[in-house]
Symmetry: C2
Amino acid sequence: MIDDLATVDRTTAEPIEAVHRRLRGFLDRHRPPTPCLVVDLPAVGAGYRRLRELFPAADLYYAVKANPAHEVLRLLAGLGASFDVASPVEVELCLRAGAHPDRLSYGNTVKKRSDVARAHALGVRLFTVDSEPDLVNVAAAAPGADVLCRIFAEPPASSTPFGRKFGCDPELAGPLLRRAARLGLRPRGLSFHVGTQQLDPGAWEHGIATAARLAAELAASGIPLTALDLGGGFPAGYRDGAPPLAEYAAAIEASLDRHFGAARPALAIEPGRSVVADAGILRSEVVLVSRKAYHHAHRWVYLDVGRHNGLTETEDEFIAYDLLTAHDGGPTGPVVLAGPTCDGDDVLYERTTYHLPVDLAPGDHVDVLAAGAYTASCATVGFNGFAPLPTHHIGADGEPVDGCGHGG
Amino acid sequence: MIDDLATVDRTTAEPIEAVHRRLRGFLDRHRPPTPCLVVDLPAVGAGYRRLRELFPAADLYYAVKANPAHEVLRLLAGLGASFDVASPVEVELCLRAGAHPDRLSYGNTVKKRSDVARAHALGVRLFTVDSEPDLVNVAAAAPGADVLCRIFAEPPASSTPFGRKFGCDPELAGPLLRRAARLGLRPRGLSFHVGTQQLDPGAWEHGIATAARLAAELAASGIPLTALDLGGGFPAGYRDGAPPLAEYAAAIEASLDRHFGAARPALAIEPGRSVVADAGILRSEVVLVSRKAYHHAHRWVYLDVGRHNGLTETEDEFIAYDLLTAHDGGPTGPVVLAGPTCDGDDVLYERTTYHLPVDLAPGDHVDVLAAGAYTASCATVGFNGFAPLPTHHIGADGEPVDGCGHGG
């Protein structure tokens, strides 16, 4: 199935600069219309293998939502990945990409009973729950399935007053898993999630400690904690950096040692961003560079990509992407970066300081690095007449890989 | 062209409750899959006519971005509306809906020269600019066109440190319009925008005063201010209400009197939301109702619509939609409302207090009112496997109006 991707089946990662050269080489040779995303499949494979190396004992469930492109899913299925899915459509995408349904974990705790039934009919046998109504749905529509219970990952004091959208108070986990057993399901264990682009390698400590405490309580009622899903949150390389993934692996290993000792459950992780983000470059074009007042020191730089057609994660300036331009190396000055739509909130960076070359002019390219995750799949259907983000996938030779019509 | 819409050509608005009954009647009879948007075309026509009545001296440029559905554009074109467009695609949508290009105003000041050329080739002759590079593009690609200069609408003290994405400092307007004349363009006047869903009917005062001051300055250099575009910002009816549109018309009238007296320029307004929002209901379904901790007083209510598939404007809880359920009238309790995706930020209302019936259960409908603007057109291409929002358009008989394939 992945014959045409054989060249990406590598065991070591190459320097990120080499990936950038390959991506930009493709862009410079083919000059596709901007904005567009280019994803380097060898780098996706390398990202997957890197996490496999760092977490050798864990099942790796790729979080499909990060980048659901067929080419990416097909590559990862061929490399033996499992998949974290959130909807019947994502189940179907994975199956079409060659994944066996026993490799799928339905991790979304917000699901209609009909969604559970659809996933079950397609062969999915592992579901995560975090409430009684969710559990009852799974029992009714996926009889006999394995279930994980998702718990809050943070100490109570650090939560919002309302807690979080996913997970439940740890004190509910025991009752839910015992209820699961009574409903004929197979209670497998716990999951938690420390939040996306997590910059603290120690963030898993509280969840692991909580899981270990609950494991003892569950064992006392005859329910061994056989599985622990550590979720995602592993970072990609944006402008302001992140600790190396090896530090995350080491910190998690130490937490597991501390709280579980030798009696560890089977482990799972759900990386998404950390597999695909670094493999993508989003090429945009400068629309305008202007000053809006005589006394302003900064320029406004308007790109042809913004919050509605690819750079969704600049909301609240959460992700500060690294940028490359054709004029890098020359003198720079402060800018406000904004997208092309008529939406006054379609501003990328205003509080976050960016300096770009003073020579930057309309028509110049601005390349957005580490753009392989949460970009094309988050674009709108065409707000203000700006089309969704086309995507190209390239192989080790820097040329397009034949997909199945999901590319640009 | 609008023969089949003739019944919506009404001159008086009916009570909003009647519109809701018609919309919900359609939904109850046809039970389309949820989530979906239903837009009542008679109410769109009434919204347009109401603004025409309130601003009889102004050209009404419908802001296409609010709802670019073909059925809506076709109806408004038939009623004689002009259109505010922001991209070549929006130009094409309007022309396909039957608008004459001399009815189009290209109001986006962020545009590539190639976009200007495309719009000009399609017949557009009115462009708004707010910077010299933008002006130079228009002069090059739309020679001889009419131009408006967009200025900041707020007093300097109320602006962010960086100003705003659109508009320029008023002191730049004179130089830009004089430059426009030298470049062979026709400087027509000024525009400004007070911000969407503006709740202060007096918000136009500063912009009108500034425009009057600049008019005197411009006249001194031989450039009469022949047009003033007051932008949009007129509100729709969300949960927490807004002043009646008549108060806006009165406040603007008073400002114009105060600053221009009898020597008024030609006026334009650019309503979008206030034309279409109230005409739409978004029907969603409750996915789950759960409690995440024993000590929580509130329930989490998860809907099958969220920030990624229609309710984009709940970002930062900006728009607090009014909701109707089948259990209204019974006892209620506090809830947190969230969408169906695996995104932890896909939460609709957490800080904004909502109380919903305690009887609310999975499968129940929750109808989101005043959802006709900035919903379907802002949905993602399918984040997490959740499809864009299908739209149905109904006529005065409450039955679907034959569109051109842009409906659900």
